[in-house]
Assembly symmetry: C2
Homo-oligomer: 593 residues x 2
């Protein structure tokens, strides 16, 4: 009955097909006309209110307090001097305010991007800044060419496998700082080996400070999570104490880092050197200048532009793509939670522009940060204007606080990073995948395991495996075969060239190689598409059936497929509306014979 | 009615699913047991008869007479001394006799493989022989790993585009030999430019001889094609003259080359040097020795194995794959014509073994030759034993005729090649593609045009384009949408992760962004597969619909898909058998509210 209803509905002219070329062109043209889509700020600025301003101020400051210690630590992960974290953290706040489509997303250095950059720039700021510029150019070009759809080919298991593995790599990478170990290599397996090998060189001061920082961060986080919202009639002392807990919980990163720095400073002035500290950093705002296109080494040799790009190599594909992926994934997650939709190509545009402009202020590549976006959202940000406040806080830190950063202990920054990446290790996804779709564990595991080798290999391997799984489904469609006087083969899927040889083989083996040969019906009810390779194979099959005096009848062909088959003028082509009709026509034939 | 029949049929337990893993394992196991499948000679040798022997003898000799001049010419295309053509031409005949599954296929040097080799070996026999060995190892490994299915991803338009372009490249590459020009570069565009640029240096002797050879070859071919079969009651003189025409037509390559060589010899002994001749060749059978794994250059430097393989580079992928493709395509074409099926993995095994053994007798990579296979088939070969005769003729030529090859004019060989590749340029395919499936012109044209740049880029580009077209269909399925009180979206295809974002966007835009929001039905009648990424997106959609107080109902879910959705425990999941039932349930809902 349902099928009948469907076929009736399909005849109805009120149906229309979406996704046609005209549709796309129209959409593109409209988007050209609509300035609002390209400048989302025009959508919310005219409606901006004092209430929003208040919320945005609070959220912006809160994110700022989280951002400053985090980005210092991430610069460490990227293998750059800590001030580069701050250099990279403010441009995105201003640009995203104008061009971003999500109110929550905060652009800036992230743990994963820092890890990826580390493997390409080899601690060289010139490479980092040039990589930022080139990534920005690539992302902007992709936005203009509307290539955001490429992200559709990265499936959920691949993203999960990648983030889990990256979080473990980043988190473990900080253990050496908690232990105060020196000269540990970057590669994950070597890192694990040498961390345990050198564990007897642990510095007690770092270990104690790191451990205390970790415990404090976890406790403050748990306190904040347990906090109930204020009721309207709660007494003032309850509200104030809840406010204090909320503040301590939200600004925990800043508080822990400040406290640890104070301890380190106190030890330093007393003449004890018990902690590994950040050390000397350059002061003040970064200069605004074009990114360097060549590098002069200490001995005067000039490395030309093309050699640097060659060294960056696959980074020029991986960094822009992962940057985009991370940002869009975050924007989508919070859009779904807070009930708005984002525009992937516009996000791409915003990130691209941020990276290009960022390269003028010595930034390394940035993307959306999950942790800070979550803080932003939870604090109740109303518009992307909150980012401006964050940006101003970062700039103020750069201008006035840099001398104090000398005393930040590395162990405290390591604790901040470990707490930031720990929630990304989500083991429950394995159980979910196992329960819902076991096969999807394959791309997950491939991505997860390969990521430990080199984090970018993981994502490439995962995409390859899931692509292969898609193509395998096309190349080897499931066939339902009924064995009677007449062979009936029902296709569950499209009929595309990779499947032509396989299906032809099945028909040949099951209908013609048996004795005596029998007629066959190919039920194409679910086939919506056919190509010339398949038509060619069908021509051949029809000839083979004809040679043996039996028939190959098609049933349930859609109009589009039938048109292609008729245009090919296949000799002996027979088609019926249904398997039933085909069976009747074949038995009629036999009666005739 | 047809659909009703189908759903009834699907309930019927007499249906079985082919292509399951068990199926495959069983097939593999059986193939392990069945020696016959691995040694096809066991299938026909016990039934071998005198009648077959007679036909095989005639066919083998005919192919031998075609092969000797052709392979000398192809060695020239590969940039190797002419004797390497003969070195490569006999091993395949013997091995294919034992391991081949097609009675018609003749392995040996071909025009396309020679062209491909030329771009990798740079005229160096050591590289050529090592490439043969490594290609053989790769092909044999592919056969053992049953990777023959990879060929399914090369579509008909790509094959056609590739062969057309290769034929033009090879054919035009011989124009310089017809004109007697020297020092023309290999690359197609440069070759065209310099051939016309240097046309005033044409040697009249070569031009005349080449032209006459061409005309003779075409005339003899036309004569043979016009030949009617002998009637049983035809007078003896008619039969004899037809036999003579048939012989001249079939052995035309050998006759023309012999005649041209006689003319060249006559001129030479009279002291005139009017033709460019093949010149000195090494004599006798090649030594039987392991392929060289290093090369010592004239100045004593040793090029190690890994450097040679690095130089061969992508050739180690392209040569084995194209070799396989060419051979399988030919075997399939003649199998279809002569009504037998071939086994791709077994063919792969035979070619791989031929190349490995060939490398012991200084062969360059071989594959199935279209021209000689056609001669073999037309002459009425009965079993692969015909190849043994061909192989013996090649060996005899090597042993006794090499001194005579000195006088073969290059222009005559060029004429042989041009006539061999001319039928491969098939313009009618463009008209067919245009009429049947215009979109398939895209991979054809991409392959065709890129092949002129570098012939291997063409096939890679074509595969990429046709792969992209497949994935595009998956990522952007056509949706039929009916606009009523309730939105009905019908999927025409599977529901895989690349499409999840797109479909979710359509539902969101068309059902939730309108005012007031409306319920939607997603008709999954044609959906047979679903993955975790899609399930995740559906979970999100259901929440969005719920937030706005409307429903998202699924209809026509297959059992497999429903199981996945139920396992995911999606809150608010509703499914109905058909669009009709879903519509009714939604209107019932509304009446309730």
């Amino acid at each position: 009955m349902g099928d009948k209803a469907e076929s009736e509905v399909l005849m109805d002219t009120s149906w229309r097909v979406v996704g046609s070329t005209q549709d796309r062109l129209r959409a593109w043209w409209c988007s050209c006309c609509t300035l609002k889509k390209r400048l989302p700020i025009l959508g919310w600025l005219p409606r901006y209110s004092l209430g929003w301003l208040q919320m945005d101020l609070i959220a912006g400051m809160t994110v700022g307090l989280t951002a400053v210690p985090q980005v210092l630590a991430y610069a460490e992960v990227a293998g750059l001097p800590v001030q580069y974290g701050l250099y990279s953290a403010f441009m995105g706040c201003f640009i995203y305010c104008i061009f971003g489509t999500s109110k929550d997303v905060t652009l800036g250095p992230t743990a994963i991007m820092s890890l990826l950059c580390a493997s390409y720039i080899d601690g060289d700021p010139v490479y980092a800044v040039l990589l930022t510029f080139l990534s920005g150019v690539i992302q902007l070009s992709m936005a203009i060419l509307q290539l955001g759809f490429l992200l559709d080919f990265i499936s959920f298991p691949v993203i999960k496998g990648f983030t889990c593995a990256a979080a473990i790599t980043i988190g473990f990478g900080q253990v050496k700082n908690i232990l105060g170990l020196q000269h540990i290599p970057q590669q994950f397996f070597l890192q694990v080996y040498y961390t345990f090998h050198n564990i007897c060189q642990t510095r007690v001061g770092d270990l104690v400070l790191g451990g205390v920082s970790l415990v404090l961060l976890v406790l403050l986080k748990l306190m904040k999570e347990d906090l109930r919202p204020n009721e309207a009639d709660a007494p003032i002392c309850v509200r104030v104490s809840r406010g204090i807990v909320w503040f301590f919980g939200t600004a925990r990163n800043a508080l822990v880092v400040i406290a640890a720095s104070c301890v380190a400073y106190a030890c330093d002035v007393s003449g004890y050197e018990v902690f590994t500290v950040t050390g000397k950093t350059s002061q003040g705002l970064p200069p605004f200048s074009a990114p360097p296109f060549t590098e002069t080494t200490w001995n005067g040799t000039v490395i030309p532009f093309d050699e640097i790009t060659q060294d960056l190599g696959s980074g020029l594909v991986v960094i822009p793509l992962i940057g985009l992926l991370e940002s869009i994934a975050i924007a989508k997650a919070f859009g779904s939670q807070n009930d708005y939709r984002i525009d992937a190509n516009q996000e791409l545009f915003a990130i691209g522009l941020t990276n290009i402009m960022g390269s003028f202020v010595s930034a390394y590549p940035v993307t959306g940060s999950f942790g800070r976006t979550a803080v932003n959202s939870q604090t109740g940000v109303c518009t992307p204007a909150g980012g401006v406040v964050t940006g101003v806080i970062v700039l103020l830190s750069l201008a006035y606080l840099m001398p104090l950063f000398y005393y930040i202990p590395k162990a405290a920054l390591a604790a901040v990073i470990i707490c930031a990446v720990a929630p990304m290790v989500d083991c429950s996804v394995i159980i979910k995948l196992w329960r819902v779709k076991k096969l999807d564990l394959l791309p997950f595991l491939v991505t997860f395991l390969l990521s430990f080798w080199e984090v970018q290999y993981g994502i490439v391997g995962g995409i390859a495996v899931s692509g292969f799984m898609l193509l395998y489904n096309i190349a080897r469609p499931k066939l339902k075969v009924s064995d009677d006087d007449v062979l009936v083969v029902a296709l569950d899927n499209g009929l595309n060239f990779p499947a032509s040889e396989y299906i032809s083989n099945v028909l040949y083996t099951e209908a013609l190689l048996v004795s005596p040969p029998r007629s066959a019906i190919l039920d194409c009810h679910h086939v919506n598409n056919i190509d010339y390779t398949v038509v060619n194979e069908i021509r051949d099959l029809l000839r083979q059936f004809d040679l043996r005096g039996v028939c190959l009848v098609f049933s349930g062909l859609s109009i589009a497929v039938l048109e292609v088959l008729l245009a090919a003028e296949l000799p002996g082509l027979r088609h019926m509306d249904s398997v039933d009709a085909a069976l009747q026509s074949l038995s009629g034939n036999k009666a005739f014979n």
